[in-house]
Structures are given as structure tokens and as C-alpha cells.
């Protein structure tokens, strides 16, 4: 634990520099957690403003233009800047440990991925301070987005482009990590389900994000360089944007949801004290969902006028996803069946998730029915549906994961009582907010409505919904209090506080920077559990104590991302004044220069000598 002590003694400047240059997946996980948490709060405040505007009919809390910015930024922030990085936080914190690796395959790119995401996220939000953020909806349908005045949508395009590049890099990194860096004995069919879902989600990122990249490029060319992809006057076609966006956008749902399923699989198994029921079926279902996720994008476009054949095909394909999802639900239930169910905060989230997500999945089948979707589409029914999936599935999982892996990441356990308070406030608030919205939609309330008229029977439902939203807000505040309280108390726990099953719990909390002194020998599914049932305390090493190779820290990822951030302003403002092209060239120059440095300067890393490891063990 000498490294921990050393870190604690560091001054603020040194710590800051450490985090700016780190390539350690555990520190990058913390960066993702903090940044994602920050954007989650921003997005949450936007949500509360939206709900406050809708608390009564014809309200004038915010103007129409500002409301449109709020809904756009709420959606964009929550998906790209909160949910994605928080998923990445857990993937970084846990996946290398679960497969028994000392780091990820590309530590440098891992860091680059984070900084690209962060600078992209900041770029997205710059619009607020320059006369208005993006206001064309998070889906940014052309031609509304291509004709939107000001620079809001430009910031959306550039911000998402930069952060999307980061995500793509992260996806490739995890694919290679999982394929190449598993410990001896960790076969594919012994990988914990969270690792499996991270693997499939990374594959989805790889094949989905480029479609968004292209869409954003086309939109950038239209808005900033006079191209006509989506301009009917030049022969363009705005439906292309919708296809590109949803070819990315639908897999994105599974990019978020699959790791969420993985988190719950870990938690349910751990706190039922049982191995996951139907592990093989769960893996199969995960892969199948990932595969089908690419076949269904046009179910977002039933009302576009694609014709009955396309509508029917996409309807049936979409319904098919319910099957593997159902398999998952039942396997979770049968993991609980016969278990010794310990209900603490992470488990409470998991138990809250099952009925909530079942509802979300059910409404998913309902909206998949094309001819019925003509009624649901773009109404609050759909708003309710995807919040049941994204909040009830993903956010619940992130909050569960926060409580579950907090000890592994920080060495302390979050307060269970406060955790339960957070759960109940958030859970009740969630259902109050969104259940009624199914009915609001069917009663004739379209989504993205700044106001609704008086006397249309929508008042009570909206009031209830707003009350629920504020309960969720209070729940989040309690979580923050919990985090502060736990950090101040700083009561360290052992490496395995939950009596858990997977490899990450076989090493101290938080783990040393090289993770495993000796790579573990994996002898089955739930490797730590296997050893525990045979009376051992930890893993059997698979190798003698040798020198450990470690990557060097680097400041280049930060500078490289900063370069693109600067170039972004050049891209945008050259539309008014070509002298801004200088800024563009400076920014791109910084980034390409960093790439050149990275390419020509050898970075061989360093070694921790086994003598030092031994010495540390003796201390």
C-alpha cells in the first residue's frame, strides 16, 4: 500500500499533473466518473427546468427558444456526456481487473479517448455562452438543424464529432484488451458477464459510431461549407440524416443498455450468493441483442413514409429483440430463485430495475408495432418508453454500479442507509415522472412541446410528472451527500467487502497501480468464488514473480484533444470570417504535431523490478 500513501502525500499540483497525464485505467475510470457525474448533474438541472416549464399549461418559465435549447442539450448531454462516460468509467475500472490484466491494450489511447470526450463535451456546452446552445433536438433532424440560426448546432456537430472520436477509440481499446489480455485460463466462456457486455458494446461502438461521424461531417459541410446534402433546394434529402443518425442511434441504445445488463448480472449473482443462472444463454442473448441492434434502426422512422413493406420488416425485426431481452429477465429471476438474497443498496437498485425495465421492454414491443406507432411516435408515450429503458435500465445500473464498485475504486463503502434513501426517492420519483407520460402521449401530447394548451386534459398528468422529477433531484442530492460523507469518514475496507465472485475482488481496494503482482490462474467461471469454495483466500498465481512492464504517463492526449477543441472554433467561425481559418490551422497543427511526436518518439514504458515488488510485500 506504499503507493497509496505516496499519492496521499502529493501536493495538489502534483496530483493534478498526475491525472492530466495518467494512462492508468483506474485513474482514467475516476476521471470518467467525475466528468460523467458532472454532466449528469448539468443534464439533470436541464431536465428540472423542462419539467418546471411544463408544471402547468401555457407556462412562461422559459421562452420557446430557450426551451428548445434545454431539451436538445438535456438529451445530448445525458446520452453522450453522462451515460456514455459513466459506462466507460466502469468499463475502465472493472474490465481489466475482471479479466486479470495489468492494464488495457492501449493505455495511451485510453487517455486520449477520455480527453477527446471531455473537450467534446465542453465544446457542446460552449454554445450556451455564445448566444444559444443547439436547439434542433438531440436527433438534430435536417433541415431544422441545417437552417438553425447562430452557432448552437455547429457546437453540437463539432462537440459530438470530437467526443465521438474519443468513444470510438475507447471501443477499439476494450475490444483488443478483452481479446488479447485475458489472464491464463480466462477463456471467453469464463468471462464475467459485465466483461462480455462491455465486449459486445465495444463492438457496437466500433460499427455504429462511424455512421454518426459521417452524418456529422455531412451536416458540418452543409452548415459551414455550403454543401447541400440535406437541402431540398440543391437536390439534397434530409432523410439521409435520419438514416445515418439512427444507424448509429439505435445501436447506441444497446451500447448503453448491454453494460447495464452486465452490471446487474454481477450484482444479482453476488448478492444472491449464486452463480448466474443460464450463463451461456445470457452470453448468447447479449451477442444476439448486439447483432439485432443493427437491424432495426428504421423503427424510429415509421412515420417517415418508407412504405408498408419496410415498416413491417423493421417492426418484426424490432419485436424479435424482445426475445433475448426476455431471456435475460428470466435468467435474472432464476438466479434469485433459490438464492440467499441480501438486500443492500446495489441489490435494491437491481431489484428495482427488473420490473422497471420489464415495463420499458414491453412498451418497446408496443412501439415496435408500426401501425400502433403511428399513434405513439413523437409523443410522450415514446418519451416515457425510452426513459424507462435509459433511466430504468441504464441510470439505475450506473447508480447500482457506483455503490457496488465504489469500494474497489476508492477503498471505502458508501453509506447503505443513505443509499437506500437515494434509491427510494429516485425510484418513486422516476415512476411518478414517467409512468403517467405513457397516458399523456396517448391523450394527445406530442414530445418537445414547449407549452400545452389549457383545457386539454393534460394538466394533472404533467403536474404529477414534475413532482416526480423533483423527487429524483432530491435523491441525487442525497447521493452527493453520501459521497461526501463517505469520503470524509474514509473508512478503508478489505479487497472483498461483498464476499463476491469475480477477479476484481481478489486484489486490494483500491488496487495497486500494476493491478496483479502475479497474473492469476483462472480455473472456472467466477474465479474468486471457485478458490473460496476450495478454502483458499485468493487466486493462485499463474506465473512466478517477475518484472512488470508499465506504460509511461503522457501529456500528449490532453494536448492533442485541446488542439481539436481549438480547431473546432476555427471551423465554426470561419463561416463568418475566413481569417478564423488561422485558428483552424493552429488547432489542427497542434493535434497533428502531437501525432507526429507520438509516432517518432519511442515510448517503451518502464519496468517495476521484482525486488521492489517483494520489498513492498514485506512492508
Amino acid at each position: 500500500m506504499s503507493t497509496m500513501v505516496a499519492t496521499n502525500k502529493k501536493g495538489f499540483g502534483a496530483t493534478l499533473w498526475d491525472y492530466l497525464t495518467t494512462v492508468d485505467h483506474k485513474k482514467i475510470a475516476i476521471l470518467y466518473l467525475v466528468a460523467g457525474g458532472f454532466f449528469f448533474i448539468i443534464g439533470g438541472l436541464e431536465a428540472l427546468a423542462i419539467r418546471w416549464q411544463l408544471v402547468k399549461p401555457m407556462n412562461d418559465f422559459v421562452s420557446a427558444g430557450f426551451y428548445n435549447e434545454l431539451i436538445t442539450m438535456h438529451g445530448t448531454t445525458m446520452i453522450f456526456l453522462a451515460a456514455m462516460p459513466l459506462i466507460f468509467a466502469f468499463m475502465n475500472a472493472v474490465v481489466p481487473l475482471q479479466i486479470g490484466a495489468r492494464d488495457v491494450a492501449f493505455p495511451f489511447l485510453n487517455s486520449l479517448g477520455f480527453w477527446l470526450f471531455l473537450f467534446g463535451g465542453i465544446m457542446l456546452n460552449v454554445g450556451w455562452f455564445t448566444g444559444g446552445a443547439a436547439d434542433a433536438g438531440w436527433t438534430a433532424y435536417a433541415p431544422l438543424s441545417t437552417t438553425s440560426l447562430g452557432e448552437g448546432v455547429d457546437y453540437y456537430v463539432l462537440g459530438l464529432q470530437i467526443s465521438g472520436a474519443g468513444t470510438l477509440i475507447g471501443g477499439i481499446n476494450f475490444l483488443v484488451t478483452i481479446v488479447n489480455m485475458r489472464a491464463p485460463g480466462m477463456t471467453y466462456m469464463r468471462m464475467p458477464l459485465f466483461t462480455w457486455t462491455a465486449f459486445v458494446a465495444s463492438a457496437l461502438i466500433l460499427f455504429a459510431f462511424p455512421a454518426l461521424t459521417v452524418g456529422l461531417f455531412l451536416m458540418m459541410f452543409d452548415r459551414l461549407f455550403g454543401a447541400g446534402f440535406f437541402d431540398p433546394a440543391m437536390g439534397g434529402n434530409s432523410v439521409i440524416w435520419q438514416h445515418l443518425f439512427w444507424i448509429f442511434g439505435h445501436p447506441e441504445v444497446y451500447i448503453l443498455a448491454l453494460p447495464a445488463f452486465g452490471i446487474f448480472s454481477e450484482i444479482i449473482s453476488t448478492f444472491s450468493k449464486k452463480r448466474l443462472f443460464g450463463y451461456t444463454a445470457m452470453v448468447f442473448a447479449t451477442v444476439l441483442i448486439g447483432f439485432l441492434g443493427f437491424m432495426v434502426w428504421a423503427h424510429h422512422m415509421f412515420t417517415v413514409g418508407m412504405g408498408p413493406a419496410a415498416n413491417s420488416i423493421f417492426a418484426v425485426a424490432t419485436m424479435a429483440i424482445a426475445v433475448p431481452t426476455g431471456i435475460k429477465i428470466f435468467n435474472w429471476l432464476f438466479t434469485l430463485w433459490g438464492g440467499n438474497i441480501q438486500i443492500n443498496t446495489p441489490m435494491l437498485w437491481a431489484l428495482g430495475f427488473i420490473p422497471t425495465f420489464t415495463l420499458g421492454g414491453m412498451t418497446g414491443v408496443m412501439v415496435a408495432a408500426a401501425s400502433a406507432d403511428f399513434q405513439y411516435h413523437d409523443t410522450y408515450f415514446v418519451v416515457a418508453h425510452f426513459h424507462y429503458v435509459i433511466v430504468g435500465g441504464v441510470v439505475f445500473a450506473l447508480l447500482a454500479g457506483t455503490h457496488y464498485w465504489w469500494p474497489k475504486m476508492f477503498g471505502t463503502v458508501l453509506d447503505d442507509k443513505l443509499g437506500k434513501v437515494t434509491f427510494w426517492l429516485f425510484f418513486v420519483g422516476f415512476h411518478l415522472t414517467f409512468f403517467i407520460q405513457h397516458f399523456l402521449g396517448l391523450m394527445g401530447m406530442p414530445r418537445r412541446y414547449w407549452v400545452y394548451l389549457e383545457g386539454q386534459g393534460l394538466d394533472l398528468g404533467n403536474l404529477i410528472s414534475t413532482i416526480g422529477a423533483f423527487l429524483m433531484g432530491i435523491g441525487t442530492i442525497v447521493l452527493l451527500i453520501n459521497i461526501i460523507k463517505t469520503s470524509v469518514k474514509n473508512e478503508k475496507v478489505s479487497g472483498d467487502p461483498w464476499d463476491a465472485r469475480t477477479l476484481e475482488w481478489a486484489i486490494p481496494s483500491p488496487p495497486p497501480f500494476y493491478n496483479f503482482k502475479q497474473l492469476p490462474l483462472v480455473r472456472g467461471l467466477d474465479p474468486l468464488w471457485v478458490e473460496k469454495t476450495e478454502g483458499r483466500k485468493g487466486m493462485t498465481p499463474a506465473e512466478p514473480l517477475t518484472d512488470i512492464h508499465m506504460p509511461n504517463n503522457s501529456f500528449l492526449p490532453f494536448v492533442m484533444s485541446l488542439g481539436l477543441f481549438i480547431a473546432g472554433f476555427g471551423f465554426i467561425y470561419q463561416k463568418y470570417d475566413l481569417s478564423w481559418l488561422i485558428v483552424l490551422f493552429i488547432g489542427m497543427g497542434i493535434t497533428l504535431g502531437c501525432m507526429l511526436i507520438r509516432s517518432v518518439k519511442d515510448d517503451l514504458g518502464y519496468h517495476i523490478h521484482k525486488e521492489d515488488l517483494k520489498k513492498e510485500a514485506e512492508e
Binding site: K274, T303, I341, M362, F374, D378
Partner: protein
Amino acid sequence: MSVELEFIQVFLNNIKLKRKRGLNMKDWMGKIRTLSLFSFLVIILSACGKDNLTALVPKGYGAEQSFNVIIISILVMIVVFVVVMAIYVYVILKYRQRKGQEDQIPKQTEGNKTLEVVWTVIPILLLIIIAVPTIASTYDLADESEKEDSINVNVTGLQFWWNFEYPNEEIQTSQELYIPVNERIYLNMMSSDVIHSFWVPSITGKMDVSPENENTMYIEAYEEGVYWGKCTEFCGDSHSLMDFKIVAVSQEEYDQWVDAMQSTDPEYTAESATAQEGQELFENSCISCHAIDASSNHPVVGPNLADFANRTKVAGINDFSKEEIVRWIVDPAEVKPGNGMLDAPYLEENTIGQAEAEKIADFLLELKATDEPVDSVQQFRENEANDN
């Protein structure tokens, strides 16, 4: 609760009557319908919304088709939910850790192949139950076989209003789509700016109105009345205020209305003195965008005002009164942020104040095709006045 009663009534009619068009009348429907009552109770308990707005009380063919699929899928889903919840509640009650059991290690079961097959096959069967009527009605709603022989309307969506042109009748109107009941009307829809979407929940599901591809759908209303239409594709600042109506009238009233629209006079001269002053102002400031006769030759720039005095609402959203008309003219930004009238020169030049606007309103209130609004519109105006 009249809405709920009506809801049940519509449903019972659904069971008893044979619809003219057959696809929803397959035999399996009858069997499912008895079951449906259950789900109806659930929905009724949570209220159905406003009578001529809600999708839960269908009053037109498309809405009814969608509604049937909605009900079938809800029923199937309730079955699934009940099963899941039953297992869920059971396991939590039964296997919850009790005091003193902390160290018990349960049996580590790997899985069960039979169970896996069961919960793979049964959902597939349930999905087929939903998929079959879905596909049938999806095709049915895209049917264009009767287009040639039906009334056609060219719908144009604009920020933030709707234009309805009847090409065969050579008339156009705005904001209110007049149709005869129990007739198929084909809508050919295009936008002249961004994407909009045409939705009248009680009558029909929605269809996008795009700037580059013409979309066609048909509608059919079962009862006379005024039905709320909403724009459902995010289209800018006043997206939430882009309301329109379908006015479903008897065949006779419809024919009269078409005749009257065809004979609206482009050279109309106002009668009352204030209206004449208003007309002068109108001709200076408004006529370049707004036509006062219903000829379909006018380009679609601003809403056609030929039948203005018979409208259900001012600007599609506000109660029909002179006061609201004046407010709309004087301060259009307040009523509908970002609407096209904000570019009108009179606002910049500040030539129309309260007094002038009242005169213009007097003139506009003389613009009508028929002397009185049709019955449904009168009824609608009364209801709206009572509701608010």
C-alpha cells in the same frame, strides 16, 4: 364522465358492428375482444383525456386500426408482466436473507435447458400474436387503391401553420381541414420548410410532412365534429403551437361549403365602415401574403383567409374572439414565437397599433364563405368557451 362512457360505447360498437373495411374483422379479433374489456377497465381508471384529442377514443378509421393493435399488444404485455411479477414477488419473499442466514451458501445451479427453451419459445409465440395484426393494419393503412376516386387534399406544412388545397375543387383553405364523414380522403403532404408531422389522434395516426418527398395517407372520420390536430415533428420555436383541426361535416354540409368556397370573391369590399378602413389597412400591409378568396391559384405564403370568420380558433390555438384577433395582429411574437408574420414590414414600421388592428379584425370577421359556421364548429366554439 362522458368521455369514459363514450369510450365504452365505442368499444362495444367495435364488438357488435361489422366495419365496412374488413381487415380488422378477422375472426381472431372477436375472441380477443372479450378479453379486451379487462384492459379497458385499466385504461378507463386512468382517464382517457379530452374527447376530440385523445387517441384512446378513436373516431376515425386510422385511429381505430392503431387502437386495435394497441389493445392487442397491451393485453399480451399485461400477461407477460403478470408472469414476471409473480415470479419476482415470489423469489423476493421466499429467498430473502433472514437474520442468521448470512453465511448460508445456496446451491450453485448452472441453468436449465428446458426453462431456457420455454422462455424463448413462448415470447416468440406472443410476438406473433402482435406481429400479424400489426403487419395487416400497416399494409391496410398504406392502401392507395381508392385514391383516384376519392377526395384529394394537398397538405402543406409550414412554420407554424397548415395549408389545405383541394386540387379537384380548385380551392384552398388553412388551419382547418373540412372533410365529409364516412368518406376516405387522401392527403398528399409536403412541407415547404422543415419536416412537420400531421397528427389528429382521434382520427388517424401520424405521417411526416417532409420537404422533399410527398407522403400520402388517407383519413376517414366516423362522426361529425371538430378534431384537434397537432404537429408532431419538432419544427422550431412554435412547434407546440402549430395546432390545426379536422372539421368533419355531413356530406351535404361539405358540398355546400365547397360551393361557398369556390364562390368567394377576390374583389370583396367590406360592408361596415370600420371594416372598410380595416380593408384598406389590410391591403397595405397584409395582402401580399394573405389571400381573401379561396382560389387555389394563390401561392402558399401566408394562411388563406377566405373563410376566416368561421374558424374554430385564432392562430389555431386561441379562443375565437375579436380580442384575440387583435392581440395576434399587434403582437404575433407573443402568440407564436418565431412565426413567419414576424417578418411582416408593418411590425418594423410600427404602422399597426391597437386601433388599426381592431379595424382589420372587423374586416377579417366579414370574411366568410358561408354565413354561419357549420354546426360542428359552432358546437366546438361553445364547448371551448365553457371549458376554459
